[in-house]
Amino acid sequence: MAFDKQRFIIAISLLTAFLSYSFYIYSSLPVKDYHISEQSNNGKMVWQKYNCIACHQLYGLGGYLGPDLTNVYGIRDTYYIRSFIQNGTNIMPAFHLSDKETTELISFFKTINETGSSDPRTFTIQPNGTIKQ
């Protein structure tokens, strides 16, 4: 069954390549030196607890009922953000978050804003079809 053997070799090679690629990514994650405050860390869990991603995006990923919030900290002031979170809108529910949770969320927005821009207008397209941020 030479044919079978050939298939196994291809499958094993692909699998090895995949596992190496995966573990390489795990061991050298894109951002190495970072400092993230306890507050911002908690803010991320608040973000998950209320499932904000159902309506909002981070870096364009998430639900589309509300705006992308990657850089909301950069374009709005904290009073504005706080009031949205506490009062909601005609679509967004008022989640009645505690003061602590709201502060943590804002700290999370601050951290994510510092990682880069999600605005596609800031990208430049290269002739080979790739993009530069």
Partner: protein, 458 residues
């Protein structure tokens, strides 16, 4: 071994039947979500969008998982000519999956989340899913007598089962602070896992569809052919390395994006082959047109074509910049999960549930109407999302953007078409589900009355 589409209600049939119920309810939540797009604040107090979206998404993902499992468990036995390695394992898996799904749905309704997009439930609930899936892998690997000389679909089942496990585990790496703390690291691994996970369930479904095609045409040679394996390895290569297109705009490693871009272009080979074989496929389709299962297989092929077209375009970073974060992505997902995944599982359902005692042939006329209603409305639905996506993209790129709410308002006509076509789509699909489930229910009662319920040994 005799075909398994006999009158006995087996555990693999239950996977499909339970999945169909999930699909029906999942689509109703989809409609509610669509209404929320055009009537701001609709059901905001009790069923706001952060509940409706995961209800819709999880229900349909579980439909795909249940359907894929039911298909593989049935065809694996037909193919190998042996009963399942362990029926009790399959029953346990069914039980675990069903209970976990119900708990997850209840937790969403109660507003309890804690997970992430697509798996929004509390991460503890991932454990039973994991256990259930391992039981499935045991059945998949142990049912066949030998791994030698197996056709491509068997390889696909094995690949799908194992990769789903891997990617599912990977999607929970975030529970470790090392992966979670930095959002860029976190999102890189998250989308690595999601990108490949979709590839994994596609392997399960495409494998079964190749088997079913062969079964209907009475010729399983294709499954052993070189070209089938070539396409399989191309698919596997993409499953492993092309997930980076989800995160072209994320400031992550450049090599991830470049690898993804290059690997995705190998899909052109699959695309080219579909065009090349168009005429032949059409002729075969005409020959088997009367066969409902076959018709769904053909419909899914058309959707493969459309979805691949979008997918390849979106894999080019220069185009992705425009489509990312818009409804074009949603169009692609809907085309793929409804047009491909759901239609394939319905094809399996037609094959597996037919003859369960009342033949589906009696409902042919109605199935025919429902089939066309579903396909045409899905196409309109898909187009409305592409159109809304194009407009949102031009808003995203405009130099001075109007406020978000104004943009949403300007898209309203497209969302109306989306909602109305969604309603027709829902009607078509529910009609199909109803006809099939009614038949099953009838069978079930006949069996109970006739006291000939088998010990469901298959």
């Amino acid at each position: 071994m005799e075909p398994l589409n006999n009158s006995r209600l087996s555990v693999s049939k239950f996977f499909i039947i339970f999945g169909m119920l999930l699909l029906g309810v999942g689509m109703i939540f989809g409609l509610i979500g669509a209404i929320q797009y055009i009537i701001p604040g609709y059901l905001k107090t009790y069923l706001s969008f952060e509940k409706v979206r995961p209800l819709h998404v999880s229900l349909v993902i579980f439909w795909i998982l249940f359907g894929a499992t039911g298909g593989v468990l049935t065809y694996l036995q037909e193919h190998s000519g042996r009963p399942l390695y362990s029926v009790s394992l399959a029953k346990t898996q069914l039980f675990i999956f069903a209970i976990t799904t119900l708990i997850i749905l209840a937790s969403y309704v109660a507003g309890s989340f804690g997970g992430r997009e697509y798996w929004e439930f509390n991460p503890v609930l991932a454990l039973p899913i994991l256990v259930g899936w391992i039981l499935f892998i045991i059945n998949v690997t142990r049912t066949a007598k030998s791994w030698k000389g197996q056709p491509v679909y068997w390889w696909m089942w094995l690949t799908g089962a194992v990769f789903f496990l891997f990617t599912f585990l990977e999607s929970y790496l975030w529970v470790f602070p090392y992966f979670r703390e930095n959002i860029i690291n976190d999102m890189t691994v998250q989308w690595k896992s999601y990108g490949s996970m979709v590839g994994a369930w596609n392997m399960l479904l495409y494998g079964s569809s190749i088997y079913l095609m062969g079964k209907i045409s009475g010729n399983q040679n294709y499954g052993h052919s070189k070209i089938a394996f070539l396409l399989y390895f191309t698919g596997l290569f993409n499953l492993m390395f092309n997930w980076g297109h989800h995160i072209y705009t994320l400031p992550t490693h450049h090599f991830i994006k470049n690898i993804s871009y290059a690997v995705s272009m190998t899909e052109l080979f699959i695309f080219g082959r579909i065009i090349f074989l168009w005429q032949k496929s059409l002729t075969t389709a005409m020959k088997h047109y009367h066969h409902m299962a076959y018709r769904f297989l053909v419909a899914s092929e058309v959707w493969v074509f459309l979805s691949l077209l979008l997918a390849i375009a979106m894999s080019i970073p220069a185009i992705n910049v425009y489509t990312h974060g818009t409804h074009i992505t949603v169009a692609h997902t809907m085309g793929a999960t409804i047009g491909i995944n759901s239609f394939l599982i319905l094809a399996f359902a037609f094959d597996i549930l037919n003859n369960s005692c009342v033949n589906f042939d009696g409902f042919k006329n109605q199935f025919n109407k429902a089939f066309w209603l579903s396909n045409i409305s899905l196409f309109v639905f898909w187009l409305s999302l592409v159109a809304a996506g194009i407009l949102k993209s031009s808003w995203l790129m405009s130099v001075d953007r109007t406020p978000f709410a104004a943009m949403v308002y300007s898209l309203k006509p497209y969302f109306e078409v989306f909602m109305i076509s969604g309603l027709f789509l829902l009607s078509g699909m529910l009609w199909i589900l109803y006809l099939m489930l009614k038949n099953q229910l009838r069978c079930y009662f006949r069996q109970v009355l006739g006291r000939n319920i088998s010990d469901s040994s298959i």
